[in-house]
């Protein structure tokens, strides 16, 4: 048995071609047209094509900040799932977003989210929203999520004696 087999695989490694399952059950994500571009261990990239009903100012055609918030929240949540070894219920504790520049009208927005730390009950995430050039980002975000939210069991991280 190689050392790789002793460590349980993260969902981000297992999801593979089933990446669409991350957003498919979420009515709001479907309603606004969010797509999963790619997933990996503890990371996810989401994409949102520009649409005229997502605009904040009809005079400029710039997307509303709120839809960027929603896309970042969804990307961060997806990255958290990709950092776990099995499905659990998660809930956003907080989300801070710095708007670095307005989104360009007509262009799709990409969000790269990375879950850089998980504990038994909390996941920490950072995310960047951009149009394809990470050096010219639209928004930068940090978030914390609760794992095992809404009375589902907390994450079993393989430590004996702490199972609830």
């Amino acid at each position: 048995m190689s050392s790789d087999d002793t460590k349980p695989k993260l969902l981000g490694e297992l999801i593979g071609d089933n990446k669409d399952m991350l957003l498919a059950p979420i009515p709001f994500s479907m309603a606004v047209g969010m797509e999963v571009v790619s997933v990996g261990p503890s990371r996810a990239t989401l994409r949102l094509p520009w649409r005229d009903d997502l605009v904040g100012n009809p005079e400029t055609g710039v997307l509303h900040g709120g839809i960027i918030t929603a896309l970042i929240d969804a990307a961060c949540g997806s990255a958290v799932i990709c950092a776990l070894t099995r499905m659990t219920s998660i809930a956003t504790l907080d989300l801070r977003i710095d708007y670095l520049r307005p989104a360009t009208p007509g262009e799709a927005v990409l969000v790269d989210a990375e879950c850089y730390r998980t504990t038994r009950s909390i996941a920490f995430v950072r995310a960047l929203a951009h149009h394809g050039d990470r050096d010219d980002a639209i928004a930068h975000s940090v978030a914390a999520f609760m794992l095992g939210a809404n009375r589902s069991p907390p994450v079993d991280r393989g430590v004996s004696g702490v199972k609830s």
Binding site: I26, F28, V32, N57, P58, A70, D73, A91, P102
Partner: protein
């Protein structure tokens, strides 16, 4: 029903009709179904009536956190527009959203407090609740860039 391609030029002081016309002119506010009225003290009370497409977790069910965040941001901006002497739309610099309880599949309300209305930047706190205003489901605070003074006006000393 397509939204208008320009924002209404609001008369000052902003009344209920002007505020509603503004919300209706913002495409993403229409998608969320967000409306707003003014209370007796001139404070914006925003509403986001429940709709199926706002759901983020169908198992609970619960509203999508992103819809609540967007709603809070809209409420803050609406309150600033009502308070501003100048026309224009404030731009979000940063916003931090704290999620306190899951949003149930029912109508959501929000109110904002402008903690500081500076010359260029405003600091705003917002709170969203459902059936009980003393049990908020989410709070937010953010900084907003205010539109520059209209040309021709004497610069502030």
């Amino acid at each position: 029903m397509t939204p208008p391609v320009s924002l209404p030029r609001l008369a000052r002081p902003v009344g209920n009709d002007g505020l509603l016309a503004l919300m209706r002119a913002i495409p993403f506010a229409r998608l969320l179904g967000v409306g707003a009225t003014l209370d007796d003290e001139g404070r914006v009370v925003a509403q986001m009536p429940f709709a199926e497409h706002l759901i983020g977790n169908p198992r609970l069910p619960a509203l999508h956190g992103g819809t609540i965040g967007a709603f809070l941001e809209m409420t803050a901006i609406a309150q600033l527009i009502v308070d501003m002497a100048e026309p224009g739309i404030p731009k979000t610099i940063d916003i931090t959203i704290d999620y306190l309880r899951s949003g149930r599949p029912r109508d959501t309300f929000a109110r904002a407090i402008v903690a500081k209305h500076g010359r260029r930047v405003a600091n705003v706190r917002v709170e969203a609740w459902q059936e009980d205003p003393t049990r908020p489901i989410a709070t937010a605070h953010g900084h907003f860039m205010l539109p520059p003074p209209t040309e021709g006006e004497a610069p502030e000393a």
